[in-house]
């Protein structure tokens, strides 16, 4: 039976329309996987030496054990956003005689070969090999490695529970926040006992039974959860959510673009995918922390300009690159309705600009890094509003991938709304702000660089109508192609 499932899965994968078409996408995905996998292997191999160099007096394995919790927290976070319990088309299976348990075991077992589990493996397998090579006792290293793998699998299954149940999610969140808060205010550090626990796993290899028991427990919880949902009523037929009606009549003051604006707000609020995009775009706000805190970047102002643009541009870029794909589900209707493209585009533009403005306000704490940095952020925001918005909308117009609104995007298994054109069009988004800043900076000085970057944005706003007309033309030209691409069944 399981063999059948695997063969079905393979067919589904091979015959998916986006897969058959997008050879380039395939290559990109494979490259991406190799890239991340490669980084992990590389890091794993050098982890031992890095740890040794960082804290020379402590045994590297102890150092790693003390900090390994950060890795797992990072993993939980990434998984929460990216990994979902795979959906299997169970409807046709329910009426034919297959044991329900077989299907569920298969479904859960399948998740064990997720990319995320391999990431951990890639990181700690080379590390363990180095340990063995360095003459650490084999029993301890193997026991420890096994524990790490089991814990990774635990996280794998834990994540599904967090993802599916709000209760588990909020409990986890509160616990984490409490621990971080306690650590931050120096009241209590959970790091030490956790470090001790991992060291114990190393020193007493037989303790591997603890993660094993935990894994069995989590697996069973998942099993129960899926089994309970294994009825058409809830798992397969969609869950009906109560309507969250909101009064958006306030937006009517925007005149002719109001209907679109109101619709877009509902679009974001009521659908899983755009909601996820919005959440993700918040993370962009922290981009600056990566760059401004490190001395290496101090002398690379072009990169700083790039980072500054990113801080306020999160929503603009992640949401904007999928205009008009967001409306792909009902694009035919929009095209046969009395809709001026201009108003449609303008509405999206205002939405993006508002997001930039909000991000800019939220970025004020960056003043901490000095006015020069904040000036850059402000200039970056203007660039985003004036130029980046149009570049992004233009790129979107060339993007003809349908988007399923109410399905969250999944990493590496979901290429919806991603294509090579998108990649090409995103190049100017990165190069332009760097160039606009760097050339006057080199020729004159820092301030001029900022002013030129800011002025480029102002110029964009002045020529707004010109840009919108150009994008409109792209829309008109690609109309039939876009409709055909969107109505293709997934």
């Amino acid at each position: 039976m399981i063999k059948q499932f695997i063969s079905h899965e393979w067919k589904q994968f091979k015959r998916a329309s986006y897969f058959q078409k997008g050879l380039v996408i395939k290559i990109f995905l494979i490259l991406g996987a190799i890239y991340f996998g490669g980084i992990a292997i590389f890091l794993g191999a050098f982890l031992f030496f890095i740890a040794k160099k960082a804290i020379p007096d402590v045994d590297p394995i102890v150092t790693i054990n003390n900090f390994i919790i950060y890795w797992f927290l990072f993993e939980i976070l990434i998984r929460y956003f990216m990994q979902q319990l795979p959906v299997m088309n169970v409807k046709p299976l329910m009426v034919i005689p297959i044991k329900r348990n077989t299907v569920i075991h298969y479904l859960l077992g399948k998740t064990a070969i997720s990319f995320f589990n391999f990431l951990s493996l890639f990181l700690f397998l080379p590390f363990s090999v180095v340990l063995l090579y360095k003459g650490y006792p084999a029993v301890n290293v193997l026991g420890w490695f096994l524990s790490i793998v089991l814990i990774t699998l635990c996280i794998n299954f834990f994540n599904f529970l967090v993802n599916k149940s709000n209760t588990v999610f909020y409990i986890t969140l509160t616990l984490l926040l409490a621990l971080i808060g306690l650590k931050y205010f120096d009241i209590y550090s959970a790091l030490e006992p956790i470090g001790l626990a991992f060291n114990a796993l190393y020193n007493q290899p037989y303790l591997v039974v603890i993660p094993l028991v935990l894994l069995v427990l989590l697996y069973n919880l998942n099993f129960k959860y899926v089994k309970n949902g294994f009825y058409l009523d809830d798992a397969v037929s969609k869950k009906i959510k109560a309507v969250e009606a909101t009064d958006l009549s306030w937006f009517n003051r925007f005149g002719s673009i109001a209907p679109f604006l109101k619709n877009d707000i509902k679009l974001i609020w009521r659908n899983a995918r755009p909601k996820q995009t919005m959440m993700m775009s918040f993370l962009f706000l922290f981009y600056g922390l990566l760059f401004y805190t490190q001395d290496t970047y101090k002398d690379m102002p072009a990169l700083l300009a790039f980072a500054s643009m990113f801080i306020t541009g999160g929503f603009l870029m992640t949401f904007g690159q999928l205009v008009p794909s967001w409306d792909s589900e009902y694009y035919k209707m929009l095209m046969s309705q009395n809709i001026p493209y201009r108003k449609y585009l303008e509405s999206k533009w205002y939405l993006m600009v508002t997001a930039v403005a909000i991000s800019f306000v939220l970025s004020t704490p960056y003043i901490y890094f000095g006015w020069k940095i904040f000036g850059m952020i402000a200039a970056g925001a203007l660039f985003n509003i004036g130029l980046n918005s149009f570049i992004t909308l233009f790129g979107g117009a060339l993007n003809r991938m349908p988007v399923e609104l109410n399905t969250k995007a999944k990493a590496f298994s979901n290429t919806q709304g991603f294509n090579p054109t998108q990649l090409l069009i995103s190049l100017p988004k990165f190069i332009l702000p760097m160039g606009l800043f760097y050339i006057p900076y080199k020729l004159v000085n820092f301030e001029t660089g900022i002013i030129v970057l800011a002025l480029s944005g102002v110029a964009g706003i002045v020529f707004k109508n010109f840009f919108l007309s150009q994008i409109e033309k792209v829309y008109q030209k690609g109309k039939y192609k876009t409709i055909a691409a969107y109505s293709e069944k997934k």
Partner: protein, 235 residues
Amino acid sequence: MIITSNLSKKYNGVQVLHIESLEIPKGQSFGLVGNNGAGKTTYFSLLLDLIEPTTGYINNNNVLVNESEDWKPFTSSFIDESFLIGYLTAEEYFYFIGELRGQSKTEVDQLIAQFEDFFHGEILNQKKYLRDLSKGNQKKAGIVAALIGNPEVIILDEPFANLDPTTQIRLKGIIKDLAETKGVTVLISSHDLQHVTEVCERIVVLEKGEIIKDLKTSAATLKELEAHFAGTPTF
């Protein structure tokens, strides 16, 4: 009102539709019948400029459909569920369409109030998004949305499919009323010969993309159609 001339559509060299000439006068209720793959939906898609004609053109009220967008204000349609915005409630969707067609909230309210019995209490005030409604109820919402904004041409693809008997009967009443008393040109397609003959003044039979019958509906029409379809094998 709607003049089709030398219209054809080919996909990869295979002809799926070819209409030498077809004229639909204003206020006619026009029915299109044919087996699967006969070209009904293709023709409607061409009428709405959703696909590009290979040759020829459609002239809708003196507007060349594939060249100008001026037909949009007086033409409305419901082809399939992809015409609905899944994350809106029925009311929100009606108001949205209303806004696109320059109708105020009260005007939309007035219009949908007339269809209360058509909705059968299953569409309005449901606190449900359109994507969560059943197929039949989605269709009801879509059809009524196509009536918003006093369109002169209404195009409905398979309006009777998925509807319950009560609603089918009510829908027939609505369509007849539109054509007879309001002078609206109504184009529908259907697999149900009885429904079409009851509702439409004129019935055109498509087969493999070509018009093979053009009938003015009379008492004998249903018999004639049944004989025709019984005689031609489905595939």
